[in-house]
Symmetry: C2
Amino acid sequence: MTTRAVAEAARRASRVLATLENAARNRALEAMAAAIEPASARLLQANAEDLRAAGESLSPATLARLRLSEAKLKEMAEQVRSVAALPDPLGRVLDAIEMDEGLHLTRVSVPLGVVGVIFEARPDAVTQIAALAVKSGNAAILKAGREVEGTAGVLVEVLRSALRGCGLPEDAVSLLRGRERAQELLGMHDLVDLMIPRGSKALVEYVQANTRIPVLGHAEGVCHIYVDKSVDEAMALRVIEDAKTDYPAACNAVETVLVHRAIAAEFLPRLAEHLRARGVVLHGDEAVRGLLRGIEVTAVTDWHTEYGEPAVSLGVVASLEDAIEHIHAHGSAHTESILSSDEAAAERFLREVDASSVMHNASTRFADGFRYGFGAEVGISTSKLHARGPVGLEGLTTYKYLLRGTGQGAGEYRVSSETGKAARTFTHRRAR
Amino acid sequence: MTTRAVAEAARRASRVLATLENAARNRALEAMAAAIEPASARLLQANAEDLRAAGESLSPATLARLRLSEAKLKEMAEQVRSVAALPDPLGRVLDAIEMDEGLHLTRVSVPLGVVGVIFEARPDAVTQIAALAVKSGNAAILKAGREVEGTAGVLVEVLRSALRGCGLPEDAVSLLRGRERAQELLGMHDLVDLMIPRGSKALVEYVQANTRIPVLGHAEGVCHIYVDKSVDEAMALRVIEDAKTDYPAACNAVETVLVHRAIAAEFLPRLAEHLRARGVVLHGDEAVRGLLRGIEVTAVTDWHTEYGEPAVSLGVVASLEDAIEHIHAHGSAHTESILSSDEAAAERFLREVDASSVMHNASTRFADGFRYGFGAEVGISTSKLHARGPVGLEGLTTYKYLLRGTGQGAGEYRVSSETGKAARTFTHRRAR
């Protein structure tokens, strides 16, 4: 099958999925979950072959993500069931306007249609993405990383057979193999509604630069914490520690801490000691290095650096405005936090900083779909359109307007140039 | 100034606009409106020069759109004031979740930032777009059609001086001249958040194909009306007449009428006579031409045709499903309507048809921001992401998440592998 044929089949399947009630979509998810464990022998065998083929070319961390086990398969099935338990993202009435008696407009949530997902070495991404897509009435076209292709192939077969078993089109979930197929998919903006790249910064940037299909994702997270001049310093140490050390590889980990100069001489040495005791490597501007003499602080070479490890850039700023300017100049509009006891300063920061999440007295690590209470996370988006910040199932939906009339024509509402009157006038009453 | 310098200045201006309260934005709009009439001599002179330069190269319709008058200037000023009167699109609380005691998440509407608008021969587009941008806290970079550049230049000068007079950055509204500048702008996805092409299908398609910046617009509107087998025929004639003849050049005018075969023999001749009496040229498939012998009906060569004039494609379908399939195969997902007395059939059509507006017993011509009650229309979008269908001021906004905490770290909410407990748990209570 050509890539175009796969995408066309996905489009046809999406038409069917879009018409299903929540209960029918949940039955499909239950069947998908139930199909995973009985296939464990085949899945583990395919996975063992993937691991063997990858051999020593992969890092221990990547191999750990790639490896399946009975326990992991059970967890994947549970994850599919947990998606079924989420509220229905479709058919929600987002707005309702009575345009006139007998002329009612509603705006309702509907699926996007076909979602393309390119991911790297995680087999559990297959089940998670397939589940989120089916729950939201979308068809998903997956492209797995080369090192996980064998495992992903068997997993997708298992899920397709579960869909067939429910009388649903198996093309709701399909897998493309090989880099050329991915490139072809990126060219199909007539058939694919959204691309979700999941993986390295290089992957996300490649997808963003090579498609006209809208992309949901973020290439990087250069997150900041600004420590204001009036602040509970013990709280600031705790929050910065959490933001930097809770999971340094995460996109919502802090990379740069900016300190107001009025407290820098007193606070920075405490912060440096606190972070160094937790294994964090320090980088600093000239002012910081002046204040931290005797402590190992290397110069910051580029403020737009995502360390992804226990390392942090420290800077001194003259004011709240300077902090905001620094963040706009060097950040990635992902997540920014102010630590301050001054409510007015905090509200100004929340208002003026342009980022998908802006926080006061909280760790940047909270920027996450599960922590925000969305029940699922499709991804985190640093683009401003469609979905911004942590994105739940809503990110896989769009809306349409439904107009229910009783035979009206638009001409009846036009003011006549002769009489100065219209036969009918709009009421435009919001009905919710 | 280079195009990049213009865009960077717009970005800086947008940071200021984003922090203004609604009252301050409205004062700026009032100043902009008040500045138009005193400048009428300069404006009319620049316009006369544009008209002279255009000479006989433009159609009478284009010349009429291009020409300014005292009355037209007054109307433009009024339009700016009417935008000021709209509800504030910014700072709306779109969602609110209590994550825990003392940890509150809200989602609030904020401006996009910088909007690029490319339009053709309408001088009133300058004031309208500038007004919508300022109202929504965005900076606008305009690129006018060559034939209106002189008029647009003076208009933008007038608006910029009004902004300066309010102590606001004049770079909130700027004008680029020349085709090369437009091409350069399309390459600046790091500085421009949204492109809005306003004009011909060719212009919209050119913009869509040549930028990574998200585009709000629609290249075409191939809208359908499906006449079901159970229908009030007099109503159907009225609605189809309105949808085709009210304003045939509009994107929401109907292009194709599909008739259920059970009523085709009886209804089609009535419809043909009704439309021909109103000057509509008929095209039809074989079945239609068979039923309308003796009436002039040319063969439909391409169902994906936007006539933009009093002409219509007529087709016979065997069922509701066939009508939906035809619409998905040949439509542009703009606006589709079913005329039917059968509520179940209508609800099925509303549910299954994938288009930005789907209607029952109403004219496709209702798909319009003003008719929908949005108070303004930024454009009509046939893309599924960000904004779909008629788009009001909301289309110039995005949102950000604000998290107000009291010193929490994300690690406190993680279940310990030793104790099986977390220090704190999320409450995730929706607060609205």
